[in-house]
Symmetry: C2
DNA sequence: CGACCATTTGATATGGATCAAGCGATGTGG
DNA sequence: CCACATCGCTTGATCCATATCAAATGGTCG
């Protein structure tokens, strides 16, 4: 796959989850998956590569994206610890995946999971549910993209805040360029919208990567529509 | 549901498909579904209504959309004859559905299909596959929305042309406003892009609803990236 | 300390929205 | 059957949000 990929010292993580889990997919990944580490900006897989593996994020952040002809890039999603990605509808990946920060993943062969799903309805249902999550996310993404720059940035912040339920402070793992490519804006516009929100006391920016939501209802008001994006966390 | 809905004279359509079909979902719908007619602009279901039915388009065109707070509207998809819609990930519809033209649908209870899926893996797989199609479509939609107005319109025309494999002439069932709401543009911009394409001899517009693709490769060039959207036809 | 990279800030350009009017087809009533 | 109202679409003029181009700032690492 890539020169950056290397197997961990295979000291299996202690099974903190019950052996007969209500989440058989999660257990399967935990028990049969291989831990792997990727340094910052390493490629995990590339668009049009065969989709032979599923990935679960243990630590770090991953982006999936599509590179466009004109050099632009469309980021489809960010995956945080606990998220599963790489579930493809076809034989090939439709997007590329890269580590945004140093990341630890657990990797499991697709065919193992598919075989499991054939025997175990719960696994099948969970796979289907992963696709559903992706669908909901893509639909929310569409909704974001038809809004103004202000609204998109507000929506993005709320989305991230919902995924990291750690109060009102978010540590953004990704650079401005990634946010811009996710929102279909330029980094300059993203930056301006953030400083504008800061001037309005809606957020604070202790550092460029750390964002304090000082007025969530104002953000929700800006965001207007679109309801809480349930998002891609493994239940 | 709605005052417009009325059952057909229940003369079942003759089963042209083999009794033991390779598409058990399609047969189930054909055999157990109820035919219904909707006049132009009739509501089929509304956002947040319980999602108790699946729908298959027999004739006519359907749009699904979300109404936004500011009066705007985001059209998610157009469904043509043969397409199945109404498959929801949750208990409630996330979008509303309306007939764009007079439309004949076949309606089947969700729980019937779900029960069938529990026994028949093929049905389950087909349901999953419907979600996958929707996902692919939503992803293609995202890709459209980050492009220029020119590119979006070109992409839309190619998408429609791929779905109606009737040569180079498309009969658009929807008004400009629907196209605009699908592409996140205004009707004026859509109109301008079309006349611009016409002036460049890329398309012809015998009537406002009828579009002749005179130079598909030029359209593909404008569209640039994004690969053929496989789209939502029932296999 | 100095180089580098990410981010912010500023000045200007531009694509698409908005506002407004005209046009053509369709349907209705006199 | 024609005149007129209506509706969907196109065309034109102007405005504005965001892109683009350019430079300054700040933070990080050798």
């Amino acid at each position: 796959m890539d020169r950056f990929i290397r197997r961990e010292n295979t000291g299996r993580t202690p099974a903190t989850e019950p052996r007969v889990s209500t989440y058989p997919l999660a257990s399967a990944i935990a028990e049969m998956g291989a831990p792997m580490s990727f340094p910052r900006d390493a490629e995990i897989y590339r668009e049009s590569n065969p989709a032979n593996y599923l990935y679960k994020v243990i630590s770090g952040t991953v982006r999936t994206f599509k590179a466009l002809s004109n050099g632009r890039r469309q980021i489809r999603a960010f995956y945080l610890p606990g998220d599963i990605f790489g579930v493809e509808t076809g034989e090939k990946h439709a997007f590329s995946a890269e580590a945004i920060t140093d990341a630890k993943l657990v990797v499991i062969e697709r065919k193992v999971v598919v075989a499991l799903a054939a025997r175990d309805n719960d696994v099948a249902r969970q796979l289907w549910s992963l696709t559903s999550r992706e669908l909901r996310h893509a639909q929310d993404h569409v909704l974001l993209l038809i809004q103004s720059a202000q609204e998109r940035v507000a929506g993005f912040l709320l989305e991230m805040a919902n995924r990291v339920p750690a109060g009102n402070e978010i540590e953004l793992p990704m650079p401005r360029q990634d946010i811009a490519d996710y929102l279909g804006l330029t980094i300059e516009t993203v930056s301006r919208m953030l400083t504008h929100l800061e001037k309005g006391a809606t957020i604070a920016l202790p550092t460029s990567r750390r964002i304090v939501l000082r007025n969530r209802s104002a953000l929700n008001r800006i965001n207007g529509e679109s309801g809480a994006p349930l998002y891609l966390t493994t239940s």
